[in-house]
Amino acid sequence: MNPALTELERLFPPGRLLHKPGELVPYESDALTAFRARPLAVVLPESHAEVQAAVRWCAKHQIPYVARGSGTSLSGGSLPIDGGLLIGLNRMNRLLRLDPVERIAVVQPGFINLQVSNAAAPYGLYYAPDPSSQPVSTIGGNLAFNSGGAHCLKYGMTSNHVLAAKVVLPDGETVELGSESLENTGPDWLGLFAGSEGLLGIATEITLRLLPKPETYHTVLAAYDSLAKAGEAVAAVVASGLLPGAMEIMDSLAIEAAEAAVKAGYPLEARALLIVELEGETPQVEAEARYLEEVIQKSGAYEVRVARSNEERLKIWKGRKAAFSAVGRLSPDYIVQDGVVPRSRLGQALQAIEELSARYSLRVANVFHAGDGNLHPLILYNGRLEGELHRAEELAGEILKLCVALGGSITGEHGVGMEKKAYMTEMFREADLAAMQRIRLALDPQELANRGKMFPGETPAQSFHGAHPLEKAGVISRE
């Protein structure tokens, strides 16, 4: 046996050190299953000290490592490194402290997103960032990827809701970033750590901010005979001075799929559906609803429904939330993209995606966070057909370039990871990337932490492996 492994055996008991090929299989890829790599070993620490010991072991033997929460990254972020160590954090899944008075939750990194809101619910509080993977994704993964959800425009991403973190740096040192206060009197080191995709260290304890639940929701579903009209409606809502909690659009392919899957009662013949949700104090929401009604009337919607009860509201959202996995039923495989465009370019971007879809002879379904211009085109393909995966990847790349050309970004919430690192140069100049790289090297001169991710460089070939095991099981769906 590798002498370094023998040393690792002294640090982790047998059940928490995996190195037999069979044990490693479940860790070989994340939710971007087209990438696959076999780590040397997997360790499952149960404490900060054990994470630190694992990282120190890596530093000593110069073995690269990847931290992993639930492995739901859609960009290859938690893809292991061939011959590297995988540090699985799922066992560090305790809620350490919930203080309803201070509205704070302190969790271990493997704690599941949705469980934060569940734990806070009895106190009328919730945790705002709501990625669709929230029933399974971990707070550690959310923090590393600065994950978003349907409510980002108004309330921000993960980074806006994390107050403090205890972090093991790549050399094994521990730092505490942030504090319980929303304010700070020096550089925002925690802000830098959030979204650093596992390159700057491993968070072992995370302090979250909880918000009071809104008093009322007002959820509107509007049907249109064209995608462009739905896009214009979003612009009109914005122009009216309203700030809805969520604005989501689905196109006909997505509607059809969602309807078949969960029977949300959507108008089937619609070419586009717009969901707008207002939330807040009742008198304010009631007044806003009157303005919203006017705007939607004028926007050319041919059918408008307002949720009259919480059940109706949840039904509207159910279709939306299920749309991605539902699209999976229309096609054996699909790639989810995550580009962002300025809101005013939504129509243009959707038009261009339609043209690309025709050119590549691949169907593309659109379900997206219209309020913040975050597109999620789903490129449908069949991995068993020679060359289709490759065509789908090329189409995905064209969409990313399009987003940048329109003044947007290559990723709104799924991160760069392995998948999009080649496109970083579309968005950033050499000097920008060099500065980021200098920051990284200052903390990790050997590039041990998540080596090969985020920064442009060689991308391994993708190959066809089918859906994420959790998706196949219907536990999670992509959004």
Binding site: V101, E102, N146, N184, L192, P212, P342, D372
Partner: protein
């Protein structure tokens, strides 16, 4: 003696200044003199000439401006389109600039509703310690590509780079506002109400505590809904308080924006409401105000800063002197940690932006 200030009017001139000078201290509008007062050997880089809004599309809720642009100019432009800076930066009339606000990391009372300056910055362009022009973030409201350099620059005090351009998210301004002043017999009652409000679904634009026992609450939204909401708020608290509206209300908050709290140094402290009782015991007569449900304290300190430093240390808090005679604006507990030191050296290897030359520090 320090050299006279340099006055660059372009990012290229800032790069040139960084390349040709040993030690530099950026200054925006000079509204926070404790942060722009040069040490021996530092040349001041006056960025007020690097001014102007470059892009603004109200439909995107985004604007991009040069770092030396005054907040007053930005706010006037946004107001024409019914929008505002939700983090409510202070010292607008004193000439504060966007860059200085970011570097000092300053927000005001209305940060209570949607967040502080760190929650609204989207993109930055800055010159690092080697004279390289670096961009981070983007110009769209949502973006997860690359390290979040924009957030890192918040509170960086000019020590990680010289900001030349910033991009911000903005929001529609509330169409109407109303304020309620509530006097409680003492701190205890006021704090209890503060906690109840902060944990309730009542959406306040401001939730301030004016010691010893006054809460100042600001509601915002559609005018037709305000009376009912104000009544709801009064019912929730079980007391009427003193409502302010119209011009008197606007004037009240405008005057508070100047942070003219009293004689002496102006200091910002980051904290949580839990710390207030002990702090109230320690701070004596110093005029002060707690903002955003007790997350932010501004105070006037008319005695030795050393004494305040000691108090903050004892409470485990950190402070930042904005106005007052000091070469050490960061007081209270030392926030330094190894990640910070290493990243600082990565962006400024020669210590061009450091308070003291690197050699003198070690």
């Amino acid at each position: 003696m320090s050299a006279p200030p340099l006055q660059p009017t372009s990012a290229a001139e800032v790069q040139e200044a960084v390349r040709t000078h040993r030690r530099l201290l950026p200054r925006g509008g000079g509204s926070k003199p404790a942060l722009s007062w040069p040490h021996e050997g530092q040349t001041v880089l006056d960025l007020s000439g690097l001014s102007g809004v470059l892009e603004y599309d109200p439909g995107e809720y985004v604007f991009v401006a040069r770092a030396g642009t005054r907040l007053a100019e930005v706010e006037a432009l946004l107001a024409q389109h019914g929008q505002y800076l939700p983090f409510d930066p202070p010292l607008v009339a004193q000439g504060a600039t966007l860059g200085g606000t970011v570097a000092a990391g300053l927000s005001g009372p209305m940060r209570q509703r949607y967040g502080g300056v760190r929650d609204f910055i989207l993109g930055v362009q800055f010159v690092d310690g080697e004279g390289q022009l670096v961009r981070g973030g983007g110009k769209v409201v949502k973006n997860a590509a690359g390290f979040d350099l924009p957030k890192l620059m918040v509170g960086s005090l000019g020590r990680l780079g010289i900001l030349t351009e910033v991009a911000f998210k903005v929001f529609p301004a509330p169409k109407a506002t109303a304020t309620l002043l509530l006097d409680f017999p003492g701190l205890e009652g006021a704090l209890e109400a503060l906690y109840r409000l902060a944990g309730s679904p009542i959406e306040l634009y401001a939730l301030d505590l004016q010691p010893p026992g006054t809460l100042v609450l600001r509601l915002g939204g559609l005018p037709e809904a305000l009376p009912a909401r104000l009544e709801g708020l009064q019912a929730f608290l079980g007391r009427g308080g003193e409502p302010l509206s119209g011009e008197a209300e606007t004037a009240y908050w405008r005057s508070l924006n100047e942070l003219n709290l009293g004689e002496g140094a102006l200091v910002k402290v980051a904290l949580t409401a839990r710390r207030i009782p002990a702090l109230e015991q320690a701070l004596g007569q110093a005029p002060r105000r707690y903002l955003s449900a007790g997350n932010l304290l501004y105070l006037a300190w008319n005695a030795e800063l050393k004494a305040l430093d000691t108090i903050l240390q004892a409470q485990g808090l950190s402070g930042l002197v904005l106005k007052g005679a000091t070469h050490r604006p960061q007081i209270g507990i030392d926030l330094g940690q190894v990640m910070g030191h290493k990243v600082t050296k990565a962006l400024d290897p020669q210590g061009k932006f450091a308070q003291e030359p690197y050699a003198a520090q070690d």
